[in-house]
Amino acid sequence: MPRTTYNKMAAIATGLVLGASVMLPAAHADDYYAGQTIRMIIPFSPGGGTDTFGRLISQHLGRHIPGSPTIVAENVTGAGGLLGSNEFAERVDHDGLTLMTASGHLNLRAFLGLQGLRLDLDALEPVVAAPMGHVTAISTQAGIDDPADLLEAQGRLTKGITDPVGLLESLVALEMFELNYRAVPGYGGRGDTRIAFERGELMINTQSTPAYLNSVQPLVDEGMAMPLYAIGFIDGEGNPQRDPAVPDMITAPELYEQIHGEMPSGTIWEAFKVTVPLVQNTRGTVWVHGDIPDEAMAALREGVEAMVNDPEFQEASASILEGYEIMWGDDLGQIKASMDAASPEVLDYLRDMLNERFGTEFN
């Protein structure tokens, strides 16, 4: 009897110890951020899509992280996001007290190694992200009434360029079709290309899907334009997926298959598969340095999980996410997986294309 008691006691003690050790990281994580202030660098000016996402996260994430740190969003602007990104890359401690909200375009710049940008995505971990699809439309002046006739389009097929790297996914899609288009750089933003498209100055126009539905769809209804394809998404196995905001619209790879009878292949297809997951997080990716203390990483992950399950956050984020699901937890793996999958040939292909067409310089 005493023995059993002893065993029981031992079991209870072991249980307690085990329990405590299980509790331990959480307790640590709790300590880690207690009373701290996290700085969220947003390398763009206030008011844009990426900024809005970064501020949404800053507003809600803090109270869900164990220890309830305060998150302060700070716009570190300049040089198209380079100044803020470089500050994050080189001048902050890797202690989990600094986060950065990047746009998909910035991710792509870092990935391709744009000149002047010293951000190494391999050394970072995504914390939470918001995707955003894109739709390409063509003016009816091109004289076609079915997307499948794309290659017979007539006239100067002008495509407005705001920032070539930022539009890479739409350019890669056009290259995939081997369409003979004329790129016109210099537009201030996608909104400006939308006006130029309505004016008849531009024949091909790519917008984010919500902007398409909101401002290009009316032109389609008036018979001035026709949607060609959605860029779509790429699933874990590298297969095209419909854009959840326009599930009935054909995606670019599907249209290619319809025209050529087979799926696209070769370097350009690889380039498409790399570009799309990286850039379609246009709305924003929150990054943290990969080598922050484990308890800090655990606390951040825990905080994100609690945040996305919080009805208050869901309500606040609905209008900002514009029909897309927030990306968190294991789904974030896609972002890094697509970068790891990129072969040197694909990288060279993308850099050469940007360099030849637009003179973009890389490191």
Partner: protein, 505 residues
Amino acid sequence: MLDAFVNAFWILLDPFRLLMLFSGVAIGIAVGILPGLGGLMGMALVLPFLFGMDAYAGVALLIGIAAAVPSADTFPSVLMGIPGSSGSQATIMDGYPMARRGEAARALGAAFTASLIGGLIGALALSAVVPFARPLILAFGSPELFMLTLLGLSIIGVLSGNRPLKGMLAAVAGLAIGTVGGAPVAAEYRFAGDFLYLYDGLSLVIVALGLFALPEIVDLLARGGAIAERARGLGHGWMDGVRDTLRHKWLVIRHSVIGVVIGAIPGMGSSIIDWVNYGIVAQTSKDRSRFGKGDVRGVIAPESANNAKEGGVLMPTLLFGVPGSSAMAMLLGALMIFGVQPGPQMLTRDLDLVFVIIWSLALANVFGTFICLLLSRPIARLTFVPFHYIAPVIIVIVIVGAWQETRHWADLAFLLGFGLLGWLMKRSGMPRPPLLIGFILSGLAERYLWMSYNLYDWEWLTRPGVLTIGALAVALIVASVRLKRNTSQRAEAIQMAESDKESRP
């Protein structure tokens, strides 16, 4: 339509929304008075508070700021010759000489009354034009926008007085300085080397503060005494200014309309509007002898256009979701937070909100003017205080204004650099406004020229819009040259005004 118009008024009368509108006006006045800070800064300050606010209250807050800034930024322009924000640079030309004559209160009274009327005309135009603004906005393609930049450059002659060569030299320098940084149509960085700060080019705020604020401060300190040279007391009070503006009512209306139209053209940027209006009024007035010396019309024209333009820049912002100015980009961001997508459908889906914006614009102009008029008497007294008492405060404010641009040490270095350049120009009698105009238009001219060529090869030269605007620019230049030959009087006057400023030790 009329239903929504009346309905929106009641929506805005809700106490909380009115409070927000008032807060916006108060913030707008504060950032407007501080040199270098503008509507963009004010809106960025309140952005975090918008989450969780209802759309009407949030929009009232933001529009309150946007509408009050162009009224309040007149204070530093008139009182100290320092641009209060990029919208009131041209007000310096005549407002500051008035203040130095001891007529600060009168200049302010005239400016605020013009601002009020201009702002109301802007709101009225926005409500009247909203259904028809699309053709206007769509009429300006890249080639037409390029010609508009040339038209802007052609007013340089007017701003150079009888020193056209020096004026052109300054303008060319401005064009060159404007090429620093990322090229508008190529992935190329000019004169930037590895210095990332220069990738975005130089900031307009820093260039303007350096050129106008520092030289003025230095010279005032060197001279000693107060800003106002003749202590006439406040006898020439603000009521005189109000009467001035009412007497020139057609001028106010004309320039308000010009302000609305230029504001409505996306891609031109609103910082050129006050200069264009100053150029026009100085060019078209019969008696032009007093411009640059303290002619009240030189205050009324840019100030009415300046407030009216907010109605104009809202047109592309609301109808196309294309920000008409950087502050409007912030408004677009805010609309997104409220789940409102700007665009043509706003007129059907969110008509209430559109009219709340218009009412906010109108009411904010009324509140803003009222507060500014109340403030103008005590603030105008500053011009009679010995300058060395206020200089330290002004210097701090100017430095903070420059520093908030990117909070990079180079902000301050370039502020000093342009301060030195401005002082040298002032000493050597080289007009500074042309440099600023060249700087503002440099990137735009290059961008639209290349875009026109890329889009149409050389065919763009024959477009009717291009030919019309081109003819206008040529006419403006020819007229200014011929009128100048006939009446050298005005030129002398400007020279006298400038040397007036400069010769006093």
